[in-house]
């Protein structure tokens, strides 16, 4: 059949199961947009390409499918960069389509030419410049294969205009993907599984350190089975929220810089650490030499390069978490309560629960808003976040029941992620309530996407915990720079309620404690429009506990009494 490159592209995307593309048009993407005009694939027109990348990312994280975003060449493509880096750091499967100048113009500094392959080389899993229309089908297939398998990540397809315009005789012969240097990981080493099982069965004070890899692998069920069978307490990373039910009696909450005291104590005291789908990030380990100093460490990860990267491992298991746990569970002894260890942990939990003080001026405490969100949604909502204090409180004061219900930029820490990601998540899961927990600083980074959410009637709720500061940075200045609040005061800000209304969204301002719950209830009823809630909160609340930079996990500030 005679088909244009752009038509072949969309045909192949459909075959990959793509039902929505987040994008923004421009000159070099015109052939693709022309083909989209007749395509059953839905296109969401964002207001800034960064929004398209984060929305595709949110869509992917919420659904487990590969997200797709599209931009024109040059500035369109470079506007995607932060979104690509965000997805790369958090191992999110994404296919990024960029228009490119015609083949004969490449390398000439042509109008709106940017070397997007070169620019994104260190922040993509792989990338392709599609040089011939004949290659479109194969490369689309390879791109989805690479983006979604093993350790997922973003793949860029750069599409020169003439390649998209050219008509060829196209026949879809459904070639199998065959890439010499890329094989899908299968199976796990049985000897290592046996070694791990023996180590766990002998352990007196075991802890599971669970991360994003469990969610990616779809292994939450296995994780719960393992923990409950062998009675092992579980702490999750920021990326692992939802991999293990937060209210389970074995749950320790988050570990690390802003982890719970009991999780960090447990890590420091454990004799066997079972690290599952985690990458020993510095926010988690704090000072490396003091991380789990008494423990033998088992590490399960699909990326061999993560094993032994930061911490020496006693039993490395390279492979998919789900497969590894399925092999491991039958070899584990069923245990009763590990009485002494569990008692110690219960004592820590009782003595050092997460807690926060009262507002000095009768203002709303930000943590209180998050507790209310949890009370009203009971872990049945998707929570996205921006980056800052509110993000940490969202991890601490909300419990997550299910995987893919907490979407946050952990690795790159991208302010501006949460709102477009919420839009993508809501489009992927229209059945779910989706709430972006935001700061007043972060929300202003992609607030233009209110236009998108209103146009497509995407009813997400934005909860701004408005402290009129770049709060997380202010906290550091307060603690480590003698309270010199250098350029972190954001008192000058728009009237968020009016701004929401100007876009056609619902705006609400909440200034009193007693209104928090009713306002949230009201917002949860609105199903045809986004709602922006502006909570005026205590200005100088801090996130505690906190491990100061360069210290060991045991050296936590705060969280000992109600300060």
């Amino acid at each position: 059949m005679k088909m244009k490159g752009a038509e072949i592209l969309l045909h192949c995307l459909q075959k990959e199961g793509v039902d929505v593309i987040f994008g923004y048009p421009g000159g070099q993407a015109l052939p693709i947009y022309d083909a989209l005009y007749d395509s059953p694939i839905q296109h969401i027109l964002v207001r800034h390409e960064q929004g398209a990348a984060h929305a595709a990312d949110g869509y992917a994280r919420a659904s487990g499918k590969t997200g797709v975003c599209l931009a024109t060449s040059g500035p369109g493509a470079t506007n995607l960069v932060t979104g690509i880096a965000t997805a790369y750091m958090d191992s999110v499967p994404m296919v990024v389509l960029t228009g490119q100048v015609g083949s004969s113009f490449i390398g000439t500094d042509a109008f709106q030419e940017a070397d997007i392959i070169g620019i994104t080389l260190p922040i993509t899993k792989h990338s392709y410049m599609v040089e011939r229309t004949e290659d479109v089908a194969r490369l689309v297939k390879e791109a989805f294969h690479i983006a979604g398998t093993n350790r997922p990540g973003p793949v860029v397809l750069d599409l020169p205009r003439d390649v998209m315009d050219r008509v060829i005789d196209f026949e879809d012969n459904n070639e199998e993907v065959n890439i010499r240097g890329y094989r899908v990981m299968k199976g796990v080493n049985n000897g290592q599984i046996i070694a791990a099982a023996e180590m766990i069965n002998r352990a007196e004070r075991p802890v599971i350190y669970a991360g994003g890899g469990i969610i990616i692998s779809g292994a939450a069920v296995e994780l719960k089975e393992m923990a409950e069978k062998a009675k092992i307490p579980v702490t999750t990373t920021l990326m692992g929220m939802g991999a293990f039910p937060g209210m389970n009696y074995l749950a320790l909450g988050m570990l690390g810089m802003h982890g719970t005291r009991y999780a960090n104590y447990a890590i420091s005291e454990c004799d066997v650490l079972i690290a599952v789908g985690v990458r020993f990030d510095d926010r988690v380990t704090a000072k490396l030499e003091h991380f789990a100093p008494n423990a033998s460490i088992i590490h399960i990860d699909i990326d061999a390069a993560e094993i032994g990267k930061n911490v020496d491992i006693d039993v490395p298991i390279v492979g998919d978490v789900k497969e590894a746990l399925q092999a491991l569970i039958p070899r584990l002894q069923s245990r009763e309560e590990l009485s002494e260890w569990h008692q110690t942990i219960s004592r820590w939990k009782a003595e050092f629960p997460l807690r926060y003080g009262k507002s000095s001026e009768g203002r709303i405490m930000p943590q209180h808003v998050i507790e209310k969100i949890y009370e009203l949604t009971q872990g049945e909502a998707i929570i996205t976040t921006e980056v800052g204090q509110h993000q940490m409180w969202a991890a601490q004061y909300c419990q997550y029941k299910n995987p893919r219900t907490f979407l946050t930029s952990g690795g790159l820490g991208t302010m501006g992620y949460g709102f477009p990601a919420a839009i993508g998540a809501k489009i992927a899961r229209p059945d779910m309530t989706v709430i972006d927990i935001a700061g007043d600083g972060s929300i202003q980074m992609n607030i233009q996407e209110l236009g998108t959410a209103v146009q497509y009637k995407v009813p997400v709720i934005i909860c701004i915990l408005n402290n009129q500061y770049l709060g997380m940075v202010r906290q550091w200045q307060g603690l480590f720079y003698n309270g010199r609040y250098s350029y972190t005061d954001m008192t000058h800000q728009p009237d968020f309620v009016k701004l929401a209304e100007a876009y056609g969204a619902v705006g609400m301002r909440i200034t009193r404690n007693e209104d928090v719950e009713s306002a949230l209830q009201e917002a949860l009823q609105i199903k045809d429009r986004p709602v922006l809630m502006d909570f005026w909160v205590e200005r100088e609340a801090n996130v505690y506990p906190m491990v100061p930079p360069g210290q060991s996990l045991l050296n936590m500030l705060g969280g000992e009494d109600n300060e």
Partner: protein, 160 residues
Amino acid sequence: MNKHTLAVTVENKPGVLTRVTTLFRRRGYNIDSLTVGTTENPGISRMTIVVEGDDKVIEQVTKQLYKLVDVCKVIDITSERAVDRELVLIKVKADNNVRAEIVQIVDIFRARIVDIGRNSLIIEATGDRGKIDAIEDSFRPFGIIELVRTGKVAMVRGSK
């Protein structure tokens, strides 16, 4: 710091060299030398990379290289029985007083004179790194005007 020689088989495609060097730059690995060339298979190129680092670093380099989709195989041939060769071109000052002496040295190292100028000679030599270092040292007293080394290529002995 140990030097390791990695034999890396890669797709013969545009941009592969950039992917490899970007990886080394981004992760802060030190490339001592890097050569690329074609192989008996036109679809495949072979890089010989000499990289500095302890065993832990080399393990990371290897694993990270494997993550590049265009990298097919990585072998650390440092401790293998391997043949390695480098080629050097040296332009050395050579007036009539010292020419004879230079020719003698050239003979000792089984090098070759490939160009004769009025006051200089260009010498070509191949050998392993030690030999090339020795040649360089031997000519230095005469005054080296220009010198270029290819970096090493290597191959494991036997049927492997």
